[in-house]
Symmetry: C2
Subunit: 148 residues, 2 copies
């Protein structure tokens, strides 16, 4: 099991994994225009996110995406884990843990005050995994969203 | 009522408002080191956030902080509203609405796919305000947090 940053060469495997996560979360898959934007935003001079693959036997079996947000009260960056996902067939291999730890390590390196992410309330497997990692579920915060 | 970006000159008023929000949310106020980091992160070549003040009769009565995150499924930036706060004495003047609309307008300008933020579940005044703005409260998402 190795964790590697996504490159132009591994970008198609990365997209396949995003599509697999969309299916798992019952969400719509990115269309072609979205995939092109994703490539641009991943490899621009100021990338909009970091992305990694978990590779086992030369196959990409999982991925993670993260970026920095900001806490005004701590006055420190927050490492925000946007996605972490491992293929059903590779569960239990430690891929999820290795991806999570890579992002956590980056958070430490960059002196982030917090690491944060959101989990779907029905995804008990993920909630249990995060709790083992030392996370608190902050149920007092409600996520709000609108389309601009 | 005018909305103005925070400047070096108005930075002390901005910090006073952050302290007032900390008190309102029963959170700890930023210490001196945090205030210095906040100044650096607000005015660096690549600022970590945008910040605005609502000014009425030459007094700063409210503020907002926002930055961009990213949606991997939309492959578009998300405008994230980190804080929006108006002093008790200035509620009902439209300051909150003007601050919110400034961030929403920026989200449109920058072609964000979403605008997002979090609200404390006991803050019904804020929840009602956001619903009037067209927001959905996405209760299926739980916020997770850990200290790196």
């Amino acid at each position: 099991m190795t964790i590697e940053p996504v490159t132009q060469e591994t970008f198609p495997a990365f997209v396949s994994l995003i599509e697999a996560l969309a299916e798992y979360e019952h969400l719509e898959k990115p269309d072609n225009a979205a995939i092109n934007r994703l490539r641009r935003d991943a490899f621009s001079v100021l990338p909009r996110f970091w992305a990694w693959l978990a590779i086992e036997n030369e196959e990409a079996v999982g991925y993670a995406i993260a970026f920095e947000t900001y806490s005004s009260f701590l006055a420190k960056p927050t490492m925000y884990l946007e996605d972490v996902f491992v293929l059903e067939s590779a569960r239990g291999t430690g891929a999820g843990s290795a991806l999570f730890n890579t992002v956590l390590e980056l958070a430490r390196e960059r002196e982030c005050g917090r690491m944060e992410w959101a989990v779907l309330d029905w995804n008990q497997t993920a909630i249990d995994f995060y709790k083992k990692k030392g996370a608190e579920v902050r149920k007092e915060w409600l996520l709000c969203r609108l389309t601009p």
